[in-house]
């Protein structure tokens, strides 16, 4: 039975890889373009190219925009891989028994789904946006350290390879089954299970490598935003997206290296017989403290930049400036600081000191306040605004809605007596997926649609964009609301099987997941075909932002680029932006 599941996944992966290869073959034919719109560079106009052509351009590039695109592709590939993993799990969960795949294979999928989505999709896809846009928004030549930028990206593919290596047919290696939290003693390989297997070591090494990559990126962003801003870009008028990236980088700076140390200690425990997390040494509690000291900031590492994206994009389609800009910045900084003081709310049921527990509860409730400040700012921005329900705007609104559910369920979790009942149930899974899928992924989709014209020079298909949004919105709420109810009903998380009384809700969850998959396929089709043959964007203002006085630096840059671009002879119909004609059906 397990073989069937593995076979199915292998085939899907195979198809997927063929797609990637096909894309790469296309890349080979891409012409190298001249990215200089401002025309100040000495090399300009002398027939001297900035970049080699073909694949070599992508392997050697130190241009922040190209690296952003590489991050984007890497993130999307990971999203597909992680998505296939979870589809395997959800299909297995259609019925109570372990029918399609074995329990241990289910555990492996569970572990790798979480790690793939957080470390190989979440962090990199955010870096895709920040690399592409932060230098443009602050009017810098490039990142402060363009080569470090490139190496930070190129460490990711080997990291991913190591993380996924357990699934490859490599002798006696089995993929890790520790869940993404890698709790000891299981993850230390103690006991009679098979987690002493090298698959866990490979995963740990791969995670460490991706952590190094994230830390290098964070250092680069801190140096860039502090020192490379153009003179006109002061702290007072720094845009909101760059603010969130700066805060996020500060969090990465302290969270990821600590995880790195903890991972190395775990590796030593497994292979050299040290006692860092052994019962006589630090024990499981030390692992949990270290892990969550990283883990909680990590969730804000993932959510802050998407909040920045929404704060940036939502006002463009509300016809008004962001309400209370300053307070959005302050709340970002407040979250950044507070997020290091709440980690033990993941450990309420461990039997830790009750006085400590109470103080962690207090700080956890407090962190909901700056989060709520932002929510109210988004709502008041839209209030009485001239809303244009373009696809990016829909995703922004979806973000706000889902984030409210995610945040409120978080507050319930943060309250000790409630959490003692809900901990380790599907309620927790529902909570964080409302934030991670319902909010973070939504904001990222908003960003992808909003800036699609900038990085492809073309416009996506509007109707498909709407389909994608509505399927994703319905799928998300069906899937994760069912999970919340499952949690209330007492369904524990991380099991391949369940009692028959949970069947209906589990089936609803699985249907929701399939709807999400359908939406994602539409999105992939839309982006792929539009990139290749979508209508070309003719001017630097496809969203008609000038009308409302909301034109920003990156679009000006884009405008200059279009003007100076060498026309390649293609004559394609000009584009009606997603917004323009649609105010009526709003």
């Amino acid at each position: 039975m397990q073989i069937t599941g593995q076979l199915a996944l292998t085939v899907l992966m195979g198809i997927f890889l063929v797609g990637v290869a096909a894309w790469l073959a296309r890349v080979e034919n891409w012409r190298s373009y001249t990215p200089l719109a401002s025309g100040g560079g000495g090399a300009h106009g002398t027939g001297h190219a900035e970049k080699p052509s073909g694949v070599i351009r992508w392997l050697t590039t130190v241009d922040h925009k190209d690296i952003g695109i590489l991050y984007g592709f890497f993130g999307i590939i990971s999203f597909v891989v992680g998505g296939l993993m979870v589809l395997g799990m959800r299909i297995e969960l259609f019925d109570p028994g372990a029918t399609l795949i074995s329990e241990s294979f289910y555990n492996s999928l569970l572990t790798n789904h979480g790690i793939t989505m957080l470390f190989l999709f979440g962090t990199p896809i955010i870096a895709a946006f920040s690399n592409y846009f932060v230098p443009l928004l602050i009017d810098a030549d490039d990142m402060a350290f363009p080569r470090i930028n490139a190496i930070a990206f190129w460490l990711l593919p080997p990291g991913a390879l190591l993380i996924w290596a357990g699934f490859l047919p490599l002798g006696d290696i089995v993929p890790a089954q520790t869940a993404w939290t890698l709790y000891t003693p299981l993850a230390a390989g103690v006991g009679n299970g098979n987690q002493a297997n090298a698959g866990v070591d490979l995963l740990i090494l791969g995670l460490h490598l991706t952590g190094v990559s994230a830390t290098m990126g964070a250092i680069n962003f801190i140096a860039t935003i502090i020192t490379e801003r153009a003179e006109e870009v002061t702290w007072a008028n720094l845009d909101i997206f760059s603010w969130t990236i700066l805060t996020q980088s500060g969090l990465i700076l302290f969270a990821f290296p600590l995880l790195g140390s903890a991972l190395v200690m775990l590796l030593l425990d497994r292979n050299l017989g040290t006692t860092f997390f052994a019962v006589e040494g630090g024990g499981p509690m030390l692992w949990q403290h270290l892990f969550w000291f990283f883990g909680h900031p990590e969730v804000y590492i993932l959510v802050l930049p998407p909040m920045g994206l929404v704060s940036y994009i939502l006002p463009r389609f509300s016809g008004r400036r962001l309400f209370g800009f300053k307070f959005v910045v302050y709340s970002t900084l407040a979250i950044g600081v507070l997020s290091f003081g709440v980690w033990a709310h993941h450990m309420f049921t461990t039997g830790m000191d009750p006085r400590l527990r109470a103080s962690f509860m207090a700080v956890s409730l407090a962190i909901a306040i700056p989060s709520a400040v932002k929510t109210f700012n988004w709502i008041t921005t839209m209030w009485n605004g001239k809303l244009e329900l373009t696809t990016p705007m829909l995703f922004c609104i979806g973000f706000v809605a889902n984030f409210i559910v995610g945040g409120v369920t978080g507050v319930f979790n943060a309250s000790i007596p409630v959490d003692l009942i809900l901990h380790d149930t599907y309620y927790v899974v529902g909570h964080f997926h409302y934030v991670i899928m319902g909010a973070i992924a939504f904001a990222l989709f908003a960003g992808m649609y909003y800036w699609f014209p900038i990085y492809t020079g073309r416009m996506y298909q509007r109707r498909l964009g709407k389909w994608h949004f509505w399927l994703t919105m319905i799928g998300t709420n069906l899937t994760f609301f069912s999970m919340l109810i499952l949690g209330y009903a007492g369904m524990p998380r991380r099991y391949a099987t369940y009692l028959p009384q949970f069947s209906t809700l589990h089936q609803l969850t699985s249907v929701g997941a399939l709807i999400l998959a359908a939406g994602t396929i539409i999105w992939a089709y839309n982006f792929a075909t539009s990139w290749i043959e979508g209508p070309k964007v003719q001017d630097g203002d496809p969203w008609n932002l000038e009308e409302t006085g909301m034109h920003t630096a990156e679009w000006e840059w884009f405008d200059r680029k279009i003007e100076t671009a060498v026309t390649d002879g293609g004559e394609e119909e000009s584009v009606v932006a997603d917004g323009g004609g649609e105010r009526d059906d709003a």
Partner: protein, 284 residues
């Protein structure tokens, strides 16, 4: 967000004009090669672990080969990188205020991340200190070796600072003398650490697996030792570059950043001696 009207045209600087492949402004092979090497090192470590499994079918020679090869690739990448980014056009490059500031901020941020890296190890030590102490018979920690080593390291910070001041005053000779002195002190320190390990492991039978203090001791001193070694390599690079005539009173960014790193590692050592060497005797 009023970055709106702030963008008039200004000169755009290409990041990689002097590089390989030649003739482009935004292309460099070095990051890719370096990442290949770094990834290979992790892969080599993975192969080691896989090959040591009970019924592994992987040839035991594979892991060392992969490791050696990867380290070589990694070093070649780093060399090319440093050469093209910093060394080759050292004098012709404009000594821009921003690039120096960026490098200094980069180092500050990196040191911030180092606090967290060390934090993990110290957290373990503090964690076990909440239990009964001593958990085992401790080796003789506070000998003359530690005292001498500590003094050496402090002295090396002083000499490095002195060298830096000399450079800024345009006194090249003293700069070189100070640099050599720092390097020598650093290397002696590393030697002292090796000697201490030797004493503990061979004569006191105190190894990394000797109980819960062994993990703390070797984990923290090992991590610190790696950092000192890296510092010595960095100092070596600065030294070679200065022998080749680079640096002046105006151009000394890498001397600044390497000094920051060295002082930081020095400070960590002092903390470590107080907490781990002296602190372990406390309550014992």
């Amino acid at each position: 967000m009023s970055t709106e009207d702030a963008h008039d045209d200004h000169g755009h600087h290409l990041p990689a004009v002097e590089d390989w492949p030649r003739g482009f402004g935004e292309a460099s092979w070095w990051p890719f090669i370096t990442a290949l090497g770094a990834g290979g090192i992790y892969l080599g470590a993975a192969l080691f672990i896989v090959a040591s499994g009970q019924d592994s079918t992987i040839s035991p020679a594979l892991a060392p080969a992969a490791l050696v090869g990867s380290v070589a690739v990694f070093l070649v990448g780093l060399y090319g990188w440093l050469y093209h980014a910093f060394v080759s056009a050292f004098w012709s490059r404009e000594a821009s205020e921003t690039s120096g500031k960026a490098l200094r901020w980069g180092m500050i941020a990196f040191l911030g991340s180092e606090v967290a890296t060390f934090g993990g190890g110290f957290a373990y030590y503090f964690f076990i200190r909440t239990g009964a102490w001593p958990p085992q018979s401790l080796p003789h920690l506070l000998g003359s070796l530690v005292v001498v080593n500590t003094l050496l390291l402090i002295a090396s910070s002083v000499t490095l600072h002195w060298a830096h001041v000399a450079l800024r005053n345009g006194n090249r000779r003293n700069f070189l003398i100070g640099l050599v002195a720092t390097l020598v002190l650093g290397v002696i320190f590393i030697g002292g650490q090796v000697l201490e390990y030797y004493e503990f492991i061979v004569h006191s039978q105190f190894t990394v697996t000797s109980g819960i203090f062994g993990s703390a001791f070797y984990g923290l001193t090992g991590l610190h030792g790696l950092h000192v070694s890296l510092g010595a390599v960095l100092l070596g690079i600065v030294f070679v570059r200065s022998l080749a005539g680079q640096y002046s009173a105006e151009r000394h960014v890498s001397v600044t950043t390497v000094s920051m790193y060295w002082h930081f590692v020095d400070a960590v050592w002092i903390f470590l001696v107080v907490v781990l060497y002296a602190g372990a005797q406390l309550g014992a």
